[in-house]
Structure formats: structure tokens, C-alpha cells
């Protein structure tokens, strides 16, 4: 992307530059007025975008079909408005019907939709016969025994005694490898984001090309 030359563009990137410095002044220096100012501008503009999206999506999903003659959409529109009674104590009960529809739909869809991919196909791939190289067989056994022991760890109404003690402990250790891998990947994510900000500051300062 070329370095902006128009006034609005220049004003924009330098505003971004100082806002980034204001936010990181909290970490690099200490909490200060500039940081709190930038933080509160952020909260204001972020919620403005949520409000505009609410306005547009409601039009898109309900008002447009309603104007096309589908009067059934009056019901969800009414339930949507009833949602806002949550802020009043006297008629808050009306919002419970809207919440009930949302929770009923979400639970109704999610509960059954996850049984095949998150439970059954995980069992299937654990017991699918491995290719016959030594490494494949070792991996097959490690994943199989590890999955069984990790699931034993989540037996929650039986004390970890006897056979369950050793296996559940092995299951916990195997889970730690999983958590460690997530730990390593999360460092990649956090550093990528921070490097994105450093890159932006260098670009605005024209130290590196935009």
C-alpha cells in the first residue's frame, strides 16, 4: 500500500500513530491521562460500530422481509424489542420469552449437532487401524492409550484409587502436553499481533515501506 499523500490520509495514519503510543504508554511508562483518553475513545467507537451493525442487520433480516409482505416477521421483531425490557424491573419478565427462544434454539441445534463430529468421529479416528510402520503403531498406541487415560481423568464421581489412580495420572500428564502445545501456539499469536503494531509504527515513521 502506498504511503498516503492526501491530507485526510496523513492525518489518519498520524492519529493512529499517537493513539498506539497513548495505549502502550500504560505498559511502557505508567497509567496516565493519555492512556485513559485513548481507552475511552476506543470503547465509544467500538460500541458505535456495534450499534450501526445492530441497526443494519435488523433491517436486513426483519424489516426488508416485512416490507415484502411477510407479516410473520412481526413476531420476532416484537420478541427483539421485548429483549430490552431487561433494563426495567417491572416488565423484565417479557425479556425472558426472548431469551427463552434464543436459548431454546441455540441448545436445540448445538447439543445434537456436536454428537457426531465431537464425540463419534473422535472415537472412530482413535480406533482406526494404523499403517504398519513402527512409528505409526507407536503413535496409534500413544493417542489411543492417552485418550482413554485422559477421559478416565474426567471420571468425576469416583475417587482416583487403584487402577484409576495410575491411569488418570498418566491421562493428566498427556493433557499437559496438549496444553503445552496450545501454550506454544499462543505465544505465536500474541507475538504476531504485537509485531503487527511495531511494523505499523515503523511504517508511519517511514523507516520501512508501507
Amino acid at each position: 500500500m502506498p504511503y498516503p499523500t492526501d491530507l485526510l490520509g496523513l492525518l489518519g495514519i498520524w492519529t493512529g500513530f499517537f493513539l498506539t503510543i497513548a495505549i502502550y504508554s500504560y505498559q511502557l511508562y505508567k497509567e496516565n491521562v493519555l492512556y485513559r483518553l485513548a481507552e475511552h475513545i476506543y470503547v465509544g467507537i467500538a460500541f458505535a460500530i456495534v450499534a450501526v451493525t445492530t441497526w443494519e442487520t435488523t433491517q436486513k433480516t426483519a424489516v426488508v422481509p416485512l416490507l415484502n409482505g411477510e407479516y410473520i416477521y412481526l413476531i420476532p421483531l416484537a420478541l427483539g424489542v421485548m429483549m430490552y425490557t431487561i433494563f426495567t424491573s417491572k416488565i423484565r419478565w417479557m425479556s425472558r420469552y426472548s431469551v427463552a427462544v434464543l436459548v431454546g434454539t441455540s441448545i436445540g441445534v448445538r447439543t445434537v449437532s456436536l454428537i457426531v463430529p465431537s464425540i463419534i468421529s473422535q472415537v472412530i479416528s482413535t480406533i482406526s487401524a494404523p499403517k504398519n510402520t513402527a512409528l505409526d503403531i507407536f503413535n496409534y498406541l500413544f493417542i489411543g492409550v492417552g485418550t482413554v487415560c485422559a477421559l478416565l481423568y474426567f471420571i468425576l464421581t469416583h475417587e482416583h484409587k487403584g487402577v484409576l489412580k495410575g491411569t488418570a495420572q498418566f491421562g493428566r500428564y498427556v493433557m499437559m502436553i496438549g496444553l503445552g502445545t496450545m501454550f506454544g501456539n499462543t505465544i505465536l499469536m500474541r507475538m504476531a499481533m504485537l509485531s503487527g503494531r511495531v511494523e505499523y509504527l515503523l511504517q508511519v515513521l517511514k523507516i520501512i515501506p508501507m
Binding site: 505498559q27 481507552e39 431487561i86 434464543l102 431454546g104 500428564y173 502436553i177 503445552g180 506454544g184 501456539n185
Partner: protein, 210 residues
């Protein structure tokens, strides 16, 4: 009327969830179209519910301004002023610079900057918090560091073993743990859904569980 206010809504999740379950397991045209209508209603309600956070924001910051809360009300004014200007620009003049400029230069910068701040804390925690205090944490830190060095090209340059070991952790080592997390989450949602359907789970209505 009292029944509608205090108990009526408890039946709604049960009815909707049963329709969704039926639509998932059996192919009956009427059930499918009823499920489709309910899903579209939920889409409209959740689109409108997006604005609840906005109302909450205006209430919290409005109160700060109204009571002149020391050290807060000025910043609350900044938040509400930013919110109002950008929201009106978004609704009335979406194609103008009054909307595009703050969205592109202020919002984009602050959103990325706030999110990337965690990169700082990873570094200070690396020295002051991440301790091999027991076998669990030791396994976690070892696999975490290997995966971190596998993700970084310099790791592979230092020792080729990092990418072999790191790949093993990512392709095999972490599988039992995250497979069981997927299953356990599935079982948990199934149990949670039964409580919702039978009306014993009321947390999301903002009330105390029965």
C-alpha cells in the same frame, strides 16, 4: 397472568429444543420448515439483542456524567461523544469520510493495539510467572517451548530436532488431550441442555439457579 410472568417462559426452550432435535434426527418436511422458521426468528432476535451492550454502555457512562463521578465523568463524556458522532455518521452518512475515517484510522488502530497488548505480558510472565512448580507445569513448559521454537524459523536453524519434536507434539502429542476436551465439552453441553429443557437452569434469565 402471574403464570405468564413467572413460569410460562420455562416451557419455551423445551418446545423449541424438541423441534430442533426432531429436525436433526428425522427428515419430516413440516418439522423442517417449522425449525427453519424458528431459526430465522432466533436470527432476528439475536441481531436486535446485539444492541443490549450499547444500552448498558450508555446507562453506565450516562450515570457517571449525571452524578459527576470524580475522575470518571470526563472520560465518560469522551466515550458518549465519540459514540454519538460515529453512530450518527454510520446511520446517516455511511459512505462519507465522517464514517470511513474514524472507522479506518481510529477504530482499526485501537482495536489491534488493545488486542496486541497481551504480547507484553507474555514476556514479563515468561520470567516472573511461568514456573516448573510441579510435574504438570514442567511437562507443559517443555512442550510449550519446543512448539514455540518449532513455530519460529530460528528454532529450526538452531537445531533440526525442534521441528521434528515440535511436529510430533502438534500432530500426535496434543491429540489425546484436545480430543478428550472436545468430548468432555460435548458431554457437558448435553447435560447442560437437559437442565435447560427441564427448567432447572435459570442462570441466563438473570435469576439464581433453583
Amino acid at each position: 397472568m402471574a403464570f405468564i410472568k413467572t413460569k410460562g417462559f420455562l416451557a419455551v426452550p423445551l418446545i423449541i429444543a424438541v423441534v430442533m432435535f426432531a429436525d436433526y434426527f428425522i427428515a419430516v418436511k413440516e418439522v423442517a420448515s417449522l425449525a427453519g422458521i424458528l431459526r430465522t426468528w432466533a436470527l432476528v432476535i439475536s441481531s436486535m439483542a446485539l444492541g443490549l451492550g450499547v444500552v448498558n454502555l450508555v446507562r453506565v457512562h450516562g450515570k457517571n456524567i449525571y452524578v459527576r463521578k470524580p475522575g470518571m465523568w470526563i472520560f465518560s463524556t469522551v466515550t458518549l461523544f465519540t459514540f454519538t458522532v460515529v453512530f450518527l455518521a454510520g446511520v446517516l452518512a455511511k459512505q462519507s469520510d465522517l464514517w470511513n475515517w474514524p472507522f479506518q484510522h481510529v477504530y482499526t488502530t485501537l482495536q489491534q493495539t488493545m488486542y496486541a497488548a497481551t504480547g507484553f505480558y507474555i514476556v514479563s510472565s515468561a520470567y516472573r510467572a511461568f514456573r516448573a512448580r510441579n510435574v504438570d507445569a514442567t511437562l507443559l513448559l517443555i512442550s510449550g517451548c519446543v512448539v514455540a521454537l518449532r513455530n519460529a524459523p530460528i528454532g529450526e536453524a538452531i537445531w533440526g530436532g525442534f521441528s521434528v519434536l515440535g511436529d510430533w507434539f502438534m500432530d500426535v502429542g496434543q491429540l489425546p488431550g484436545y480430543r478428550v476436551f472436545a468430548m468432555v465439552t460435548g458431554f457437558g453441553i448435553i447435560a447442560y441442555s437437559l437442565r435447560v429443557i427441564l427448567g432447572s437452569e435459570r442462570g441466563f434469565y438473570g435469576g439464581r439457579r433453583e
